[in-house]
Amino acid sequence: MAAYLLRRLIQAVLILLGVSIVTFLLLFLVPADPARQIAGRSATPAMVESIREQLGLNLPIYQQYWRYLSALLHGDLGRSYLQRTDVSTLVWARLPASLLLMAGGIVCELVLGLTMGLVAALRRNSRLDQGLMIASFVGVSAPQFVVGILLLYVFAVKLNWFPIGGYGSFSQLVLPSLTLGVLGAGWYSRMMRSAMLDVLRQDYIRTARAKGLARLRVIFRHAVPNAILPIVAMIGIDVGIFMSGIVVVESVYGWPGIGQLTWQAIQRVDIPIIMGVTLISACAIVLGNLLADLIAPMIDPRIKLR
């Protein structure tokens, strides 16, 4: 177990290193010149040169990367060119909001997805089943910005059930989480349905029924835990999807998370922030997958970590 964990962590570090190299290279190619952006529109060439010198932009790329990496090892993600603040400060300040939103998203997609899938499987081939599955398809097919705009328009603007955007209270969390979770809920309800149908065919379900167990016990004690197994593995992957999703959802709802930070940074080509957020996201994705792999054996005793 310890060896497994260590190996996975080493792998994770290597992947992050790779991500940092690729991102650094990509951003190096961006035409916008940071020194000019900092120096402002009326800057004299001497001023620009001086800033370039200070930022080390004149160095060859590998030296620049090395500087970045050694700072990174000290937990320093660099300074934003335009916000003139440590990237880590900016990210940490906004991370709680994003994590809250993601947690809300996961809860939404699991609660919605699993119930829909379960009900559909138990009412197989009924009208309800068909209805739910069409709904799940629509969920999978609807772009998040459309869902977001729609929910905002209907539930906040027209019906006034929820606040229009903002951050802080539970009621403000509902619509963004829902928007973030709709996609996953669609996938999960489909996965849950087919997993349930598959599990219900299994021999051990027949065994459970042959023991004379009550129907609900057979479903919730024997079928559901087995059907949920493939979904747990998916939740790790969700982190990556969410990392993309929050850029859209946060900008629709004005949610003060790293999605907005990223978006603003991209629009203004604030390279250190883009770089930092990419690394943090990659970190989250790698950790999410690791976590999923670690949780899997707790749910399914057959899985062993090697």
Partner: protein, 302 residues
Amino acid sequence: MSVATAPEPVPAARHAPFQPPGIVGQLLRRPLALFGLVVILAIVVLAVTAPWIVPFDPNEQTFDGLTLEGSPLAPNARFWLGTDLLGRDLLSRLLYGARTSLLIGIAANGIAVAIGAFVGIVAGFFGGIVGAALMRFTDLMMAFPALLLAIVLAALFHPSLWIVVLVIAMVNWVQVARIIYTETRSLAQREFIEAERGLGAGNARILFRHVLPHLLSTVVVWGTLGISTTTLLEATLSYLGIGVQPPTPSWGNIIFENQTYFTSAPWLVFFPGLVIILLALSFNLVGDALRDILDPTQKGRH
């Protein structure tokens, strides 16, 4: 005994007593897939024939397309779906947008599937150092938040139709590679592959005759399901303003241009949103049905 060489009767229960209909036939039997097929077909036909059927030039900012104060017109007899903020006919733009969205959906996804399949097969079938390196690279790409990568790439290479196609392909091949890889790996361990080796078959023969045909269904399924994801990604990129360049209409950038008007001119968001959902939904429906039909594990499990 005399029965020694008599062929046994084929037990009826092991397979359906009739020749199963072809893939298209099976698709047509499923109402949802049929619906999807019809919608896709309709959209394709409309997109292809757009130049002949559009009521207006999609880029023409018609003189009477805006009110005197410069507001867009709601759907009316002249502009069936209303006009956009520049006084262009929304219907015409949607029809032309279908071309862009479909083109990107099909081309980007086609490239993604091709790259993904290549990487997955090479890594899964041959393994070795090259295979391991390819899979590590895939892992690395998996760790990138897809949208973020797409945004950075799109911002880097000034967006144009083909750049968008390439960017989406660059982002989307990863999952395909993963899936094909796993599938190839499990195929390579199937007993019939071992049997082929036992017969003396070489790698090339096994790969082309016995592995590829099995991967075909995965490729077809991803080919269709992926189109919907691709269309959505294009829409999202356009929504964020880094997609296809104006004035070329795509469904995503139509929404992008008009999104702030969702309260004052809802049709400008509603109609393109609807067609995006409809197209993605249709590809999903068809892809899902194809998966059911082509999935070998579903066979014999009547």
